[in-house]
Symmetry: C2
DNA sequence: GCGGAATGGTTCGTTCATTGAACTTGGAGG
DNA sequence: CCTCCAAGTTCAATGAACGAACCATTCCGC
C-alpha cells in the first residue's frame, strides 16, 4: 500500500478492499478512469504523479481485476465499475465537509438531465442508483484551475466512461 | 497521508476527502469507531498498528472533525457518521470481489432483523438507507480469527456505535 | 530500411512516512 | 506523597514515494 503494504491480521473485508484501492493515488486513478481517462500519459498529466508510482498502481489494479489493459488503454472492469458508489460517496463526503466552493464536477442522469443525489439515485427518476454509464459529467460551480490538456477535456460535458478527446 | 502527504494540485473533492481519510489505517480506525471502539488502547489492540501512527491518525481525524475527543474516548461526529455509506460500500465491494469465505460481520436493521443490502437500504423496510445507529452487528459466516479482547467483544452481537465492553 | 519523435515504461539516488521498541506524561486511587 | 496504568512521544531503522534520467517500442516520413 501507499501505506505499509498490507493489513495482514485484519479479518475484515474492508481491509481486503483497502489493500487493493487504499494506497495513495489509487482511488484518484479509478476516478479518472470513470471520467474517461484511459492512457498512461493522460493519467500522468492529469494526476501529476511520479511515473513509477503510476506504473505500479496500474499494474496492481490490473492484477486485481479493477482495470483491464486493452492495448495501451486501461479500462474499468465490472469489479471496477462497481466501485462507483464508493468513489461518488467519498467525493460527496468531501464536498459536504470540506468543499467550501462547491463541487468541481456535476453528475447528471443522462436520461432526464437531473443531477444525482449523494446516495447515487436520481431525484427525478427515483428508484435504484444510476449506473455510471448513464451519467454525464458537467463542470461545476468551482470547476478546475488546472490547464493541462486532460483537465480541459474533462471540463467539456461528456458521458462517463467514454474516452476523452485530447 | 500514509502516502505522500497531500494531493496539492488536484482540484477535486475526492482528493480533499482522501487527504483526511485516505491515509493508511485511517478508514480502519473509522470502521472500528462505528463498531463501538472508543479508547486508544482498544484501537491499538484491535488494529495491531504502531502507537505513533494511531496517535497521529486520531489527531488528524479530530482536527478535521471526523472524531471528537471526549475525555479519553474518541467518538464519531456528524461528519464521521456520514462516512458510513463509504465504509459499508467499500466493505461490501471487498466482500463481493475478494471475500471467498463470506463476510466476517453482518449488519442487521435493528427494527426488523433484516440484513441490509450493499447499498445500505433495508430490503424489508425499503426506502432510505438505514442509519448506523439503527444497525446491529452480528458475527458472519467467516467471523474472525483474532482472539484479542476487543475482537472477542466485537463478535458478540451489539448495536452499532454503542461502546464495546472489554 | 532508416532517422526521429512520441508513447510507455524502468532505474536509481534522495526524501519522507511507517514501524516497533523504549521512554515520558498525566491522572486516579490509596 | 507514592504507585500504577492508560495515553502519548521519541528515535533509529526500514521501506515507500518522489523526480529526474534513462531505455524500449511503435509510428511516421523519407
Amino acid at each position: 500500500m501507499a501505506l505499509g503494504k498490507d493489513y495482514t491480521g485484519q479479518d475484515c473485508t474492508l481491509a481486503r478492499a483497502l489493500e487493493v484501492v487504499g494506497e495513495r493515488w489509487t482511488l484518484l486513478i479509478v476516478r479518472d478512469a470513470f471520467y474517461g481517462v484511459r492512457r498512461f500519459s493522460d493519467f500522468l498529466v492529469h494526476l501529476d504523479m511520479p511515473r513509477a508510482v503510476l506504473s505500479a498502481r496500474l499494474s496492481t489494479l490490473v492484477e486485481h481485476g479493477v482495470l483491464a489493459k486493452e492495448g495501451h488503454e486501461y479500462v474499468l472492469t465490472e469489479a471496477g465499475l462497481s466501485l462507483w458508489p464508493v468513489v461518488h460517496g467519498l467525493a460527496c463526503w468531501g464536498e459536504q465537509n470540506f468543499g467550501e466552493l462547491g463541487p468541481h464536477r456535476l453528475f447528471v442522469h443522462a436520461d432526464c438531465g437531473t443531477r444525482i443525489a449523494p446516495d447515487g439515485t436520481c431525484p427525478t427518476c427515483g428508484g435504484a442508483p444510476v449506473r455510471p454509464a448513464d451519467l454525464e459529467i458537467h463542470p461545476g460551480p468551482s470547476a478546475g484551475l488546472r490547464d493541462d490538456a486532460v483537465s480541459k477535456a474533462l471540463r467539456t460535458p461528456h458521458r462517463m466512461l467514454t474516452p476523452i478527446e485530447t
